[in-house]
C-alpha cells in the first residue's frame, strides 16, 4: 500500500514536471508544424534566470515569500525576449519550409541558446533552494513530500486548465484551434495566421521557460540541462500525439507513472520503461494517442 501511494504521488509529481516542460513544445508544433528543438534552450534560460534572480534576491536579505513571484516573472521575461528574438529574427523567414529543415534550424538555435546561457551565467552551477525549502513538507503515509513539489502539480493543473479554457472558451483560442486544424483553410477564412504564429511561439517559449524556472529551486542549474529535458519532452509529445495538448497531459501521465512504477518495483528498468511505453503506444497508434487528423490533400 505504501509503495502504491508513493508510486501515485511520485508519478503525478514527475508527470507535472513533464507536462510543464513539454506543453509549449506540443503547442508550437500543433500551430506552426515546427518541432522546436530550441525548446530545451528556453527551459534552460528560464531555469538560469530564475535561479540567478532568486539567489540575488535572497542573498540581499529579502523575505523568501516574495521569491515565488520571481519565478513567473523571470519565466515571462526569458521566454518573451528569447522567443521574440528567435521568431522575429529567424523563424519568420523560414515559414513554409520542410519540417525536417526546421528541425535543423531549431537545433542550431538550441546550440546558440546553450552558448548564450554560458556567456551570461558562466559554467558554474546555480542553486536557488530557498523557495523549495520554505514551504516545508507534508507526510503522506509517513513519506515526506515537499509542499513545493505538490505546488508544481497544482501549477501544472492550472496551466493545463487555462490552456484548455483559453482554447475552447475564447475567440482567440477558437481561432487558434482552426489554425491548428488547417492552416490553409484558416488563412482562406481571413485569419492572420502569421500573427498567430508569433503569439503561439511566444506562449510556447514562455511555457518552456516556466518549466525551467519552476524546476530551478529543486535542482542544481548547470550547463546542459536543456538537452536533457528536450529528450523527455519529445517522448511525452510523441506518446500523446504531436501537437495535441490533451495528448501532452496523457503522455506526461503515462511516462510519469511508468518511471515511478519502475523506480519502486524494478529500478534497473527505469530508463527503459519510458521508451518501452513509447514503443508500445507507437506500435498501436503510430502518430500518438491524440494525433491531429491530417486531411487528405489533392
Amino acid at each position: 500500500m505504501l509503495t502504491a501511494v508513493a508510486i501515485a504521488v511520485d508519478g503525478l509529481g514527475f508527470a507535472a514536471w513533464l507536462f510543464l516542460s513539454s506543453v509549449g513544445l506540443t503547442l508550437i508544433y500543433g500551430v506552426m508544424r515546427i518541432l522546436n528543438i530550441a525548446h530545451g534552450g528556453f527551459y534552460a534560460l528560464g531555469a538560469y534566470a530564475s535561479a540567478w534572480a532568486i539567489g540575488l534576491y535572497v542573498q540581499t536579505g529579502n523575505p523568501v515569500a516574495l521569491s515565488y513571484l520571481i519565478i513567473p516573472v523571470m519565466a515571462v521575461i526569458a521566454g518573451t525576449v528569447a522567443g521574440l528574438l528567435i521568431e522575429r529574427g529567424v523563424l519568420r523567414f523560414m515559414y513554409g519550409r520542410d519540417e525536417v529543415l526546421m528541425v535543423l534550424v531549431t537545433y542550431a538555435l538550441f546550440l546558440i541558446l546553450e552558448d548564450v546561457t554560458k556567456l551570461i551565467w558562466g559554467t558554474d552551477s546555480y542553486v536557488a533552494w530557498q523557495p523549495a525549502y520554505a514551504l516545508g513538507t507534508v507526510d503522506i503515509m509517513g513519506i515526506p513530500y515537499t509542499v513545493y513539489k505538490l505546488a508544481i502539480i497544482g501549477v501544472a493543473v492550472i496551466c493545463g486548465g487555462s490552456l484548455w479554457w483559453g482554447l475552447t472558451h475564447t475567440r482567440v483560442g477558437k481561432l487558434l484551434l482552426v489554425v491548428i486544424e488547417d492552416r490553409e483553410v484558416a488563412g482562406a477564412l481571413g485569419i492572420n495566421v502569421t500573427k498567430f504564429f508569433t503569439v503561439t511561439f511566444l506562449i510556447g517559449a514562455t511555457l518552456g521557460a516556466l518549466g525551467g524556472a519552476l524546476t530551478a529551486p529543486e535542482i542544481s542549474v548547470v550547463p546542459g540541462i536543456g538537452a536533457e529535458v528536450i529528450v523527455m519532452a519529445f517522448a511525452v509529445i510523441v506518446i500523446g500525439g504531436m501537437g495535441s495538448i490533451p495528448g501532452a497531459v496523457i503522455g506526461a501521465l503515462i511516462v510519469g507513472f511508468a518511471r515511478a512504477t519502475s523506480v519502486h518495483l524494478y529500478p534497473p528498468a527505469e530508463l527503459f520503461s519510458i521508451y518501452l511505453v513509447m514503443a508500445a503506444v507507437l506500435a498501436v497508434k503510430p502518430y500518438g494517442l491524440f494525433a491531429l487528423s491530417e486531411g487528405r490533400k489533392i
Partner: protein, 424 residues
C-alpha cells in the same frame, strides 16, 4: 683591406660564432589538456580542473613552485598547452587531432569514466603518452588496456573511494544492517556501487541491500528514487553522484528528510561542501576521491596551491583542481628525473614513479607502474555555529589499505576479503 673592413669582418665573425655557440631555442612541449569546458560537468569539474592547469603550467614554466618543483619547465622546456573540451560527441577524433594535427607530446585529461574507456585504447593505438587525471572506473587497466604502454592514470580508481567509505562506516560504528545505493547508470556509478556493496559484504557480514537505484546521468529529478529510499528505510545510503546530479540529490533529499533518516555517504561530496553548506545535514559522510581539498594533509606545496588558487580564482580549489595539479606535477617530476621531456623519456620515468602532490605522496604502483594509488580520507560534515562548513572525525587510510595490490583485480581483491592488505 681597410681598417673599417677588417672591423666589420671581425664583428660579423664574432656574431656568427656567438650564434652558432648559443643553444638553439628549445621548442616548447605541446600538451593537450582535455576537460569538460561545457555541459553539466563543466562547472563543478571541468573548469576547476582547467583553472588548475592554467595555474600550474604558468608556475611550472616560471619555476615558481615550491621545492622540489622550483626549476623552470619540464626539464627546462616550456609547456605549451592546448585546451580541448571533453564534452564532445567525437572524443576519439578530437584526441586524434591533438596527436596528428597539433603534434602534442602528451595529453593530460579526461574526467568521465566513459571518456577514459574510449581514449585509453586510442592512446595505445596512436602510441601517444596520455595521462588520465580523474576518471575512476577500475576497468581501464583491469579490462580494457591490460598491458598499457602509453596510458597512465595519475589518480586512484573508484575502488579506493568505496573501500574507504565502507571502512569509514565500520570505523565510526555506523549501523549498517540495511544499505541502499543511488548511483548514476554508467561505468562510474555501477563500479562504485559494486565495490562499496562488496566491501560491505566483507566488512559488515553481508548487510541487507534494500534498494539499488541507478538513474541516468544528468537526470536531475530524483523524487521517485528518494521516495524509494525513504520507504525502504536503509541505515546507510551510498551515492557516488557528482556535480550537478549530486547537488540536486542533496537539495531534494535533504528537503525530504532523507539525510536525517539514513546516514548518507557521498563519495564525491566535497565539491558541494561549501556551496550547499546549509543543505547538507550534519552527519553526512563526505569523500573527495582522495585526500584532496579539506582532506589534504598539511604541506608547503598544499599551502602554496590553496593560496595561489584562491588568489587567482577567488575560491578554494576542490578535488578536480587537486587532481589536475597532481597529474601535472607527476609529469614534471618524470621529466626532471629523466632530464628530458620527450615522450619516451617521460614514459620511462613515469612508470612506477613516486612523487609528491598537494595531496601527499602518489605512487604509480599498479598496472605495471601505470596506475597510481595514494592515501585517502573521509570525514563527517558539520556546520559550525558561525556558519563554517568543515569535516570532523576525519580518518585517513593508507594507500595499501584501500587499493588492491599489484596484479589483483579490484572486485576479486575485495571478494577475497582484501587479501594481501595491510591497514595499520
Amino acid at each position: 683591406m681597410g681598417l673599417s673592413t677588417r672591423i666589420l669582418q671581425g664583428s660579423t665573425a664574432l656574431v656568427m660564432a656567438a650564434a652558432l655557440a648559443a643553444p638553439a631555442a628549445a621548442e616548447p612541449v605541446k600538451m593537450g589538456i582535455v576537460t569538460f569546458l561545457s555541459g553539466g560537468a563543466a562547472g563543478p569539474f571541468g573548469v576547476p580542473a582547467r583553472n588548475s592547469a592554467e595555474l600550474m603550467i604558468e608556475a611550472i614554466n616560471a619555476g615558481t613552485l615550491p621545492a622540489p618543483y622550483n626549476s623552470a619547465g619540464l626539464a627546462g622546456e616550456m609547456i605549451d598547452p592546448i585546451y580541448v573540451d571533453e564534452n564532445s560527441k567525437q572524443k576519439n577524433a578530437d584526441f586524434q587531432k591533438l596527436v596528428e594535427k597539433d603534434g602534442v607530446e602528451l595529453v593530460v585529461g579526461y574526467i568521465s569514466s566513459s571518456s577514459c574507456k574510449a581514449i585509453a585504447p586510442e592512446a595505445e593505438k596512436l602510441q601517444k603518452l596520455t595521462v588520465l587525471f580523474d576518471c575512476g572506473t577500475p576497468q581501464i587497466f583491469e579490462d580494457i588496456v591490460t598491458e598499457p604502454k602509453y596510458t597512465f592514470r595519475s589518480a586512484a580508481t573508484a575502488t579506493m573511494d568505496n573501500v574507504a567509505a565502507a571502512r569509514y562506516l565500520q570505523d565510526t560504528g555506523v549501523s549498517t544492517q540495511k544499505v541502499a545505493g543511488i548511483n548514476q547508470n554508467y561505468a562510474w556509478g555501477q563500479d562504485s556501487w559494486r565495490d562499496f556493496s562488496e566491501s560491505m559484504n566483507i566488512l559488515e557480514d553481508s548487510p541487507e541491500v534494500v534498494t539499488e537505484q541507478f538513474p541516468k546521468v544528468y537526470a536531475g529529478q530524483y523524487g521517485s528514487e528518494i521516495s524509494a529510499l525513504l520507504t525502504s528505510k536503509p541505515d546507510v545510503v551510498h551515492s557516488s553522484f557528482w556535480g550537478g546530479d549530486m547537488e540536486a540529490f542533496v537539495i531534494q533529499g535533504s528537503a525530504r528528510g532523507l539525510f536525517e533518516r539514513s546516514r548518507v555517504v557521498l563519495t564525491a561530496g566535497e565539491t558541494a561542501m561549501y556551496s550547499l553548506a546549509k543543505q547538507i545535514p550534519d552527519g553526512t559522510i563526505i569523500g573527495a576521491r582522495g585526500p584532496h581539498g579539506d582532506l589534504a594533509p598539511e604541506s608547503a606545496l598544499n599551502d602554496w596551491f590553496r593560496a595561489a588558487y584562491e588568489k587567482r580564482f577567488g575560491t578554494l580549489p576542490t578535488y578536480p583542481s587537486y587532481k589536475m595539479a597532481q597529474a601535472l606535477l607527476g609529469v614534471k617530476a618524470a621529466a626532471d628525473k629523466a632530464g628530458a621531456a620527450d615522450q619516451q623519456a617521460l614514459i620511462g620515468a613515469l612508470t612506477g614513479l613516486e612523487w609528491e602532490g598537494p595531496s601527499g605522496k602518489v605512487s604509480m604502483a599498479l598496472a605495471g607502474g601505470h596506475q597510481a594509488i595514494q592515501d585517502t580520507a573521509y570525514g563527517t560534515f558539520e556546520l559550525s555555529d558561525d556558519g563554517e562548513a568543515k569535516l570532523v572525525n576525519v580518518i585517513r587510510y593508507s594507500a595499501e589499505c584501500v587499493n588492491p595490490p599489484a596484479g589483483a583485480k579490484s572486485v576479486e581483491w575485495i571478494k577475497s576479503g582484501f587479501n594481501g592488505t595491510s591497514c595499520n
